[in-house]
Amino acid sequence: MAEVTIKKDKCKGCQLCLIHCPAGHLVLSSKLNKRGVKSVEIKPGTKCSGCTFCFLMCPDACIAISK
């Protein structure tokens, strides 16, 4: 299983990662980040396969994936 870390304060909330996640593991946070936008976060309790689609689509290099 892979672990996804998101730098929430860098996220601009464009949601490109969210729509490309094939498993639907990403959601918009209910809280605002430092920029004042709802950042993307991982749904609690989900298991990521590490396909890296979110990493590839993020325009702000917010996402890192560990395996």
Binding site: Q15, I19, V37, F55, P59, A61, A64, S66, K67
Partner: protein, 246 residues
């Protein structure tokens, strides 16, 4: 656990000024990754354009310089001729490369300068507020074509820079790609890598055109902007390798 997919060292860990969903962020990352993978970080000079990417040099950790509007390829020519062992590339938008700098672009390509050119085509002038660019597609609304670009109004047709440069003798590699989905992003990275490899092997001028979204000017959500590229822009600017002499 090892971090297997993380920010490359050539990309600085700072916030960018780009709008949400802007394609420049993905392309900055791809250029940085390619340079790191080829081990060129200490041997690269980038030339930033005028446009939204005007401060691209703040986001990369290799050497960069700035050129006057449209003159990036002329500046890059001088750098490459003085330091032929370095990898020199330009990163230009469509207003910079296809309009103001068209003469510099055509002549650098025609001279077969051993350079890599990353051409970001978002079909508008993004930084100045969304005016019509040479690459604006027919029917596309901009602030200077509020009813849509129309050849019958004297607006002309979209300028296909890649197709225009491909027949020139000095041009080695021309490809057009996009970044609308993960597969397209990987393909774009391969083209950029090939363009840098051609330069290191002294094969001549390589240009990679990337259809990139501008959600703010197009007045679309980032996800809708990506879909608009796939549905409308690709019809006018077909994807793929246009010339590969290597």
């Amino acid at each position: 656990m090892n971090k297997v997919f993380t920010q490359s060292k050539s990309l600085r860990d700072i916030d960018t000024h780009y709008c949400p969903g802007c394609g420049h962020g993905i392309l900055h990352r791809l250029v940085a990754e390619v340079i790191d993978e080829l081990g060129l970080r200490e041997k690269t000079i980038g030339v930033a354009p005028v446009g939204c990417a005007v401060i691209a040099y703040d986001y990369w950790s290799f050497d960069c310089t700035e050129a006057a509007h449209g003159r990036a390829l002329a500046v890059a020519t001088a750098i490459k001729r003085c330091r032929p062992n370095l990898a020199v590339f330009t990163y230009q938008g469509d207003g910079d490369l296809a309009s103001i700098g068209l003469a510099e672009t055509v002549h650098a390509a025609n001279r077969g300068e051993n350079l890599t050119c990353i051409f970001v085509n978002n079909a508008c002038y993004g930084m100045t507020g969304g005016q019509m660019a040479p690459t604006t597609i027919i029917g596309q609304k901009t602030t200077t074509t509020p009813w849509g670009r129309s050849p019958s109004n004297g607006d002309g047709w979209p300028l296909k820079v890649s197709e225009m440069l491909a027949p020139l003798e000095g041009v080695c590699f021309v490809a057009r790609a996009t970044i609308t989905n993960p597969n397209a992003v990987l393909k774009t990275k391969n083209y950029i890598k090939k363009a840098f490899c051609n330069q290191m092997e002294n094969k001549g001028f390589s240009l990679v055109e990337i259809l990139s979204p501008c959600p703010t000017v197009w007045q679309k959500e980032p996800t809708q902007a990506m879909r608009w590229i796939e549905e409308e822009m690709v019809k006018v600017f077909p994807l793929g390798v246009i010339k590969d002499k290597a």
